[in-house]
Point group: D4
Chain length 160, copies 8
């Protein structure tokens, strides 16, 4: 992430990766304030055994694109809502030029970034695939249960 101020948003990603028992490291690296450190991280990531990178940044959010320019690993970008409801960060991340994609998720969607990372890692990993299916099932069950709670709400002309 571009700044430790993004930590409250990004903790959901860490928690999800823990839940899936996927090892990860977490860094604060700014495309604009620590370009050299970003370069070191990005160019060495693959050799350091990293397989997927999640990069979060707000405003003129360059971090995901800058990392993507220096590695062939898939880079997931999380636009952080710091200004303009996050629209500046979304456009600065998703509208990459031909040749250098960033896999962009929704504004502040750190949880989805982590799930997407797990989905990428699961491409060749049956165990992770199974866990993803259980996770999807649990998402469904929460809604199904909520729906059952809802049927207890009484309205005069409600039919069910």
């Amino acid at each position: 992430m571009g700044s430790t101020s993004d930590l409250p948003v990004m903790e959901k990603a860490a928690a999800l990766l823990n839940e899936f028992e996927v090892p990860f490291e977490i860094n604060a690296l700014s495309a604009h304030r620590t370009p050299k450190e970003v370069e070191l991280f990005a160019t060495n990531a693959q050799d350091n055994g990293i397989e997927v990178i999640i990069a979060a940044a707000g405003m003129a959010a360059h971090l995901p694109g800058v990392i993507a320019s220096m590695t062939t690993l898939p880079v997931i970008g999380v636009p952080i809502n710091a200004t303009l409801d996050g629209m500046d960060a979304l456009l600065a991340i998703v509208q990459m030029p031909p040749g250098i994609p960033v896999a962009t998720v929704g504004i502040n969607a750190s949880l989805n970034a982590a799930i997407l990372a797990v989905q990428m890692l699961a491409v060749g990993d049956k165990e992770l695939q199974s866990r993803l299916k259980l996770y999807k099932e649990s998402l469904k069950n929460k809604i199904v249960e909520a729906n059952e709670q809802l049927s207890l709400v009484k309205y005069k002309f409600k039919t069910n």
Copy 2:
């Protein structure tokens, strides 16, 4: 893709996958007009040996999200510019709720979708990783060559 009218945009993705010798199938499936066919495709994709899905759609672009709701494979979403400069499609694809990510690329960015798919497949594939590095090198070389051409352009006070 949601409609064969998206083919001119999506052909760049097919060409890139050919260049990387990555096998693929291409379908026109509409989240709104052929929901049953979309469901059949999405729920059987993993069993049919598909590892990554690219879904392109315009306007209220539901196809990527609907497919993502029915599979745990990574789904790459391409917003097609049909109306409103593609902003409607971008928001309808990227702003997915917690739990169901879509890896969104730029508006009409079919080439980037294909590269991102290759990057995902390359996570456990050294051969693809090498080709990605060569591809990145070739992108760089095109700019370097263009830059050299540029140095031939004469301006009176240009210094190089």
Copy 3:
């Protein structure tokens, strides 16, 4: 609705339907987390005696469009303001492709969704038509009374 978190917004719709003595059921069904349950609901709705469907969702709001793709009943879409002031939800609901309309109301406009549903049901129902006229009359009277209150506010050079 896509989530029980939308209930505070949608309760106004329930209250209005009660006021018009129109029977209804209320469900939490997520286009993305419970696609199968949505399909069951939508494909059986007409056979279950449902005549109009109101679907509310936020962000990349697919629920109304997904339901509309699976039924020929009129579907009313309510964009919920979860992010971006609700603009993402509005565009994701209203910009449906040719052939599959969603009758979209304003952002968070659950009351209007319910009135619109009553207007549709009233097409062939004289009794509901009468109640709608009384309701419209009561809306008018509230403004007329407020206007009368306003005439009591004193400004130095106010003429009435």
Copy 4:
């Protein structure tokens, strides 16, 4: 519609209604230039046997809302793209205040307005319901056929 310049957009609605054999009348009535004519039309519509109204307008598009203020019939609003990609018309139609809904369809989506009108009329009309199902089937078949055409397109590494 607010002006005869909207006719090229709105003719698709007329064609669809013809296809469904639904009788209709078509008028150019401007909320701003012919307010009296709009009032006559809207207040007498129900007595004249009209059951659903489609109103199209661009820019500061008041026509659908003004008609909705004068009748309890369901009013379908079509935002016409005259300026600002139609965003001004969309917001001026969809963001109605509590109590007076307009069933808004997408920008320039006259076809969807007509289908929505048929869906409303079909609430109590089995014959129209059947035709709607056939129409939906035909939409599906067009995509299915397009998809079959697509399978004939040859790419080197395409798998189907």
Copy 5:
């Protein structure tokens, strides 16, 4: 104004008119809920001695345009910020079709609406012109005084 909920915003207009000793009346009239009352007001305004109309409304703000359609008096429109930061109201007021202008001021800018009204009335009124000049002078003086206060703020390297 379209609703008494707009009163807190519009009171600044009333205060300014009092300050200029310009007689006025204030009404809550809704384009959508009391169309008949709006028509009565607008069509009789000139005969009732009204010379300029200020109309404020939020969301799909039709009130200024509807009044403008029924009178040849100048109509000043005030977009009220009820949703979408007031952008819906601004566009619904300012983007009037050719022939029926609304003199639009900024979002929630009731004070400016009142000043503009005074400027219009001052076209043929020397006394009002003089007061406007004094008012403009007083605006200037407030800034000039604030600027003098500012010179008392001490910064180490501040030069004045």
Copy 6:
């Protein structure tokens, strides 16, 4: 206007003023390139017998606001669509600070600016009021005639 490139848009205003036999002068004055000339124009306008000013500008459109800051005459602002569909010009004109209003019309709406100017001049001018009523009548008649033409268009199930 800020530039002679705005002349094609603004000629409609000149034509309308001619139609109403309202004397006017037309100038190209740039808030940014000729600030001194703008100041001379604005500060002397009232003494030169000018009663209403129409100012048109595009992009960061400062001309209307700058003129308004230097006169107490009513200033009508016309946002010209030079970039961003004219949204930059609209916001730069309409969002004036408290105390200095600009009467803003729609993007490129030079005709409406001229009508609004006539409405302001008509406040104390019975003759102009009469012409405005005739003009409004003629607008209505054009729509009524167009509507009659429309009734000649034949659709199979059209009822009138």
Copy 7:
């Protein structure tokens, strides 16, 4: 700045200039309320020894552009977020016509305006250049230290 209400935002600029020991003066001057004072300031700035001007304003933010029209000194514009998340101010400042640039920084980005001013002054000033490098180094160090703190945060499957 256009108003003393902008002082809380602009104090960061003053603090930064103090930190760099760059002499400055600070004024509240409104393009709209004190045009004459703005003109005096801008036309005399260069003769008064001013080398760079920072101008901050919100809404229809004309101050930077108006100053830029009256001087050949570089003018840095700071859009203040007063309404519309600051988008109106950003567009009103950055979209200057050809010939009269304003060096625009981000919304409310007073700190960056001051740094940019120092960068301009440093063009011919080795001492300031050195301080800028130290400042940049300190920005980097803050992130590097934050990153080290981050490594102390424990997650179950975190690897560093």
Copy 8:
């Protein structure tokens, strides 16, 4: 610039610099495709005698910010309109985080970028200051002449 496709836009900057006899070099360097070349350029720019950098880029325009992160020279950013009317590039350039400013000019405003660069260089250069004043004078004269041409246009009721 990020790509030679930006050359048609950026040639106006080269022409202006020629007009002012300011030496410059011109490069195509992509933040995303040639990050190493960008780093070499940016980190060595000051040692190579460069005093001001103009960086132009479209879409997720990172080039200006990336260069600004690697130098303390002032960096002028030109948002290129490649998609979304250039709004993505504008936000990706102007919304820089605290500490690393980019002096942003309008969308496609390469001429203004060059003038701004000259203004920065003129801070300590009397000769350039004189030329800037002559240039500003010539801008004014073009408008004054255009205005004189305009006075020849005849309208019936035009007064001058």
